[in-house]
């Protein structure tokens, strides 16, 4: 068991180091000079640009830069942003809470909407409610998020004036972005819950409960739903990764603080230290979530646990 945990840890570490190294290589190979995009190239002289390159260490050879980077990282120094020269770690950490909050709120929306619609459509299988629930669920994954986001702003913020459309202060600013992002996740949860719920409703234990004379409502909502939720929750765990990726667009549309926006800006500016810091963060989140998923995965299904131990 300990050995398994250790090897798991090692491979996680490998993934993180691998991602950082890959990003570093990609940026090294990219054409272009980050300094040129930081200044006005029509008026700033080549010597000044050369000086900037030297000051930022961009003129040093590849292996030297890579080694320095990993060396500094071990001491907790993630370098300074090329743009505005602020230290990377605090810069990113300041954005993390906002992004995590948005992701959590979106997951909440996804679960609330997805489970409700999924259960409704399973219980009213074949009826008009089923049809509507499925289509509404699909709508969420059929609209580009920037479009639904802007529509939400125009309706609820500009026209009705109910909710703020921008910023990251307070729970009210969270509602519209969480709706826009959560609805995307809801689509697949509807499917998942509907499927598992229908499965469970055919299980022998449900038949037994029915035979015992339990009311249909109790059977459906108390027993069947509980069993059907487990795989849905697992799926949500997986989707958090997707949602983190979705924040790039949502944070821009709703001008929220967050990792996604910092990343987009940093990529455009070829700001490698910041990009590296964010990749480090996403890699840790990814590895962590996968670990959790695998754990729950084994816990839920004994068959998998048995087989998994073998391979």
């Amino acid at each position: 068991m300990l050995q398994a945990a250790l090897s798991r840890l090692l491979s996680s570490l490998l993934v993180i180091v691998g991602s950082l190294a890959l990003v570093f290589c990609i940026f090294y190979l990219l054409p272009g000079d980050p300094v040129l995009s930081m200044v006005d190239p029509t008026s700033v002289s080549p010597e000044v640009i050369e000086n900037l390159r030297q000051q930022l260490g961009l003129d040093r050879p590849f292996h030297e830069r890579l080694l320095t980077y990993f060396g500094d990282m071990l001491t907790g120094d993630f370098g300074r942003s090329l743009v505005g020269s602020d230290p990377v770690l605090p810069k990113i950490l300041a954005q993390v809470p906002s992004t995590l909050l948005l992701t959590a709120a979106s997951a909440l929306v996804a679960v609330a909407v997805g489970v409700t619609l999924g259960v409704l459509s399973a219980v009213r299988k074949g009826g008009i409610i089923d049809l509507i629930a499925r289509i509404v669920g699909l709508f969420g994954i059929s609209m580009p998020t920037f479009w639904s986001g802007i529509l939400l702003i125009l309706i609820f913020s500009v026209q009705l004036g109910w909710l703020p459309s921008m910023g990251s202060d307070g729970w009210r600013t969270l509602i519209l972005p969480a709706l826009a992002l959560g609805f995307v996740g809801a689509g697949s949860i509807v499917r998942m819950v509907r499927g598992s719920m229908l499965d469970v409703l055919n299980e022998p234990f449900i038949t037994t409960l029915r035979a015992k004379g339990l009311r249909e409502r109790a059977v459906q909502y108390k027993h069947a739903l509980r069993s059907a939720l487990i795989p849905a929750v697992t799926l949500i765990g997986m989707q958090i990764g997707d949602m983190l990726a979705g924040t790039v667009i949502i944070e821009t549309v709703f001008s929220r603080q967050g990792i996604g926006r910092i990343l987009a800006d940093a990529i455009m500016a070829k700001d490698l230290p910041v990009v590296q810091g964010i990749v480090f963060f996403t890699a840790i989140v990814y590895v962590g979530i996968n670990l959790l998923v695998d754990l729950s995965y084994a816990a839920i299904d004994p068959r998998i646990r048995r087989k998994g131990a073998k391979s």
Partner: protein, 563 residues
């Protein structure tokens, strides 16, 4: 003719607005359910803060309140010496002062410096400084402070770039007495004084700059009417009133401390969110209003639209003279005649932008009005010129010579700033009509494509500037080892005019020189001037006294919020 188009489109626009709710209904259908499920009942009115105020009757300024101002992009740093972005300068105006200011009429005026005098050889300037100014950290403003600022800009350790380009040919400073400084130049420069009015040469507190080092950009200290409070990245930059302020320049009518208690910049990149923020009262002002919203905002009872044309070099498309066949005058002229800038500007900007006619904008010394309306689109002429050059239309309508298609590689940046990508799309259509195939390349890495690989036939650029001397960086020939210019022009005659213009002290003669340059540029069809950029701000009705300097940077000292 054009009037018709606008009127039609405007009335359509208003119809569109009425029908608008229908379109929302589609999206709302899917979304309304979510709202209900997420359990957010009707929230308390967020709009109430924006009480309808009366008209803009001139009343006594009101003390207090906070102005929230939405910027389209984020400043890179609040250290003017290290910044490379115009958006940062919008904030600098509140935090800092410059030595001189550029008045609305284009002349130079006093600010932190009260008097200035050039030496006879033009190699040094002596400036008298105000003796009643303090930085927000209590450091007195004096000649030493100015010396520190300028010396630190030319110090490579500081990593200054744009500020350095403006300060050149500065060499050194001599502190004559506590409030007198002599600035020495490497060579005479008529643009030097004017550049001292630019925000990137704002004066920072030497004490704070030494203490904070590289972090000064996140903890700025200046002499301006507002002092720094906090900067939360991608959220807001908060400034507070500087109660000691008493040295406002003549540009603001209020020379004393600001009326506002606080000034908060918010970073709101998405247009719809930014403009919608003003309409819903979440911010009191928002910059860069898209033309299509200008019209709607003008009719909005809860909002006002402020607009000012910026001076400098207009948005201009440069031919790359080092690329064939665009090194030939007739080929460039053909494009000049084939492209209908008037139609482009009116279609895309709906009458809110002015067409540019020359390589510099009105308001810059020597602007040549005679170029206005001089070149009119003429497809027949364009065709004739291309025929003359031996380009023959092929089966697909594209001209061919020696088996080569006549193509124009048009590079533009992404995102689509000021609808520049749309200009490219229209030019592509217009050039198709005369048999030129335009390959439009939209890149998010202009720096590499244009300034490193010089891989373009046509590329557009604009620059806010105070002096025609800036033409040097676009049209002067360059020596081996220097970076080439966007045009790649190399003409000794132009070099001579530009060199003389840099040092000529007689303003009339100087203006004459730059007129010659402008005429040459136009006659040689080196560029296609497109539009003069207006800085636009949408603001709530309560916002009063917001003005802009000639560069389009806001002046916040006079702003007050009418109750």
């Amino acid at each position: 003719m054009y009037g018709d188009t606008t009127d039609k489109s405007l009335s359509k626009a208003s119809i569109g607005r009425k029908r608008f709710n229908w379109s929302y209904a589609f999206g709302a259908l899917a979304l309304a359910l979510t709202t209900a499920l997420a359990g957010c009942g009707p929230a308390d009115g967020g709009k109430s803060a924006q009480a309808a105020s009366g008209t803009t009757a001139a009343s006594a300024p009101v003390q207090g309140g906070e102005l929230t101002y939405a910027l389209a992009t984020s400043p890179d740093t609040l250290d003017p010496r290290r910044s490379g972005l115009a958006v940062s300068v919008r904030v600098f105006g509140a935090l800092y002062d410059t030595l001189l200011i550029r008045s609305a009429d284009g002349s130079l005026g006093p600010s932190l410096a009260t008097e200035w005098k050039a030496s006879d050889d033009g190699l040094s300037y002596t400036l008298k400084l105000r003796d009643d100014v303090k930085f927000q950290d209590g450091t007195p403003f004096d000649a030493e402070a100015v010396k520190f600022n300028f010396d630190s800009i030319i110090d490579p350790e500081t990593k200054a770039a744009n500020a350095l380009a403006l300060l050149r040919p500065y060499k050194s400073s001599e502190v004559v007495d506590e409030h007198t400084i002599k600035l020495n130049l490497e060579k005479p420069s008529e643009a030097f004084l004017g550049n001292l009015s630019q925000g990137m040469l704002s004066i920072v507190s030497p004490t704070a700059a030494k203490k904070e080092g590289e972090d000064f950009g996140k903890h700025p200290v200046g002499t301006g009417p507002f002092k720094f409070a906090s900067w939360t990245e991608n959220a807001d930059i908060k400034l507070e009133r500087n109660p000691d302020y008493a040295w406002g320049s003549a540009e603001a009518s209020n020379a004393g401390a600001a009326y506002l208690d606080a000034l908060t910049f918010k970073i709101v990149p998405e247009e719809a969110t930014r403009i919608g923020g003003v309409q819903s009262g979440q911010v009191l002002a928002a910059e860069t209003v898209p033309p299509q919203n200008v019209v709607a905002l003008k009719n909005d009872p809860n909002a006002q639209l402020l607009q000012t044309n910026t001076i400098g070099f207009p948005y201009t498309l440069f031919f790359n003279l080092e690329h064939k066949p665009w090194n030939e005058l007739k080929a460039r002229q053909a494009v000049q005649y084939a492209v209908d800038i008037d139609s482009i500007v009116k279609t895309l900007y709906l009458g809110t932008y002015e067409q540019a006619w020359s390589s510099i904008t009105p308001g810059i010394l020597g602007y040549d009005e005679s170029l206005e309306g001089k070149i009119k689109p003429d497809v027949a002429k364009a065709n004739a010129l291309l025929d003359e050059l031996g380009w023959v239309k092929g089966a697909d309508g594209i001209r061919v010579k020696d088996g080569q298609k006549l193509t124009l590689h048009y590079v533009d940046g992404s995102p689509n700033r000021e609808k520049r990508n749309d200009i490219a799309a229209m030019i592509r259509e217009q050039l198709k009509a005369v048999g030129i195939e335009t390959e439009v390349e939209i890149t998010q890495d202009v720096a590499t494509v244009v300034y490193q690989n010089w891989d373009y036939d046509l590329y557009g650029n604009s620059q806010v500037n105070s002096d025609p001397n800036g033409l040097v960086s676009f049209y002067h020939s360059t020596k081996e080892g220097e970076r080439r210019t966007l045009s790649g022009l190399s003409d000794p005659q132009v070099d001579e005019w530009l060199d003389q213009g840099a040092t000529e002290k007689d303003e009339a003669k100087r203006a004459e020189l730059y007129k010659k340059v402008q005429q040459y540029i136009s006659d040689q069809a080196l560029i296609l001037p497109v539009y003069v950029f207006p800085y636009t701000v949408a603001a709530g009705k309560s916002v009063q006294g917001l003005k802009f300097d000639p560069f389009g940077y806001p002046i916040f000292n006079d702003v007050y919020l009418q109750k």
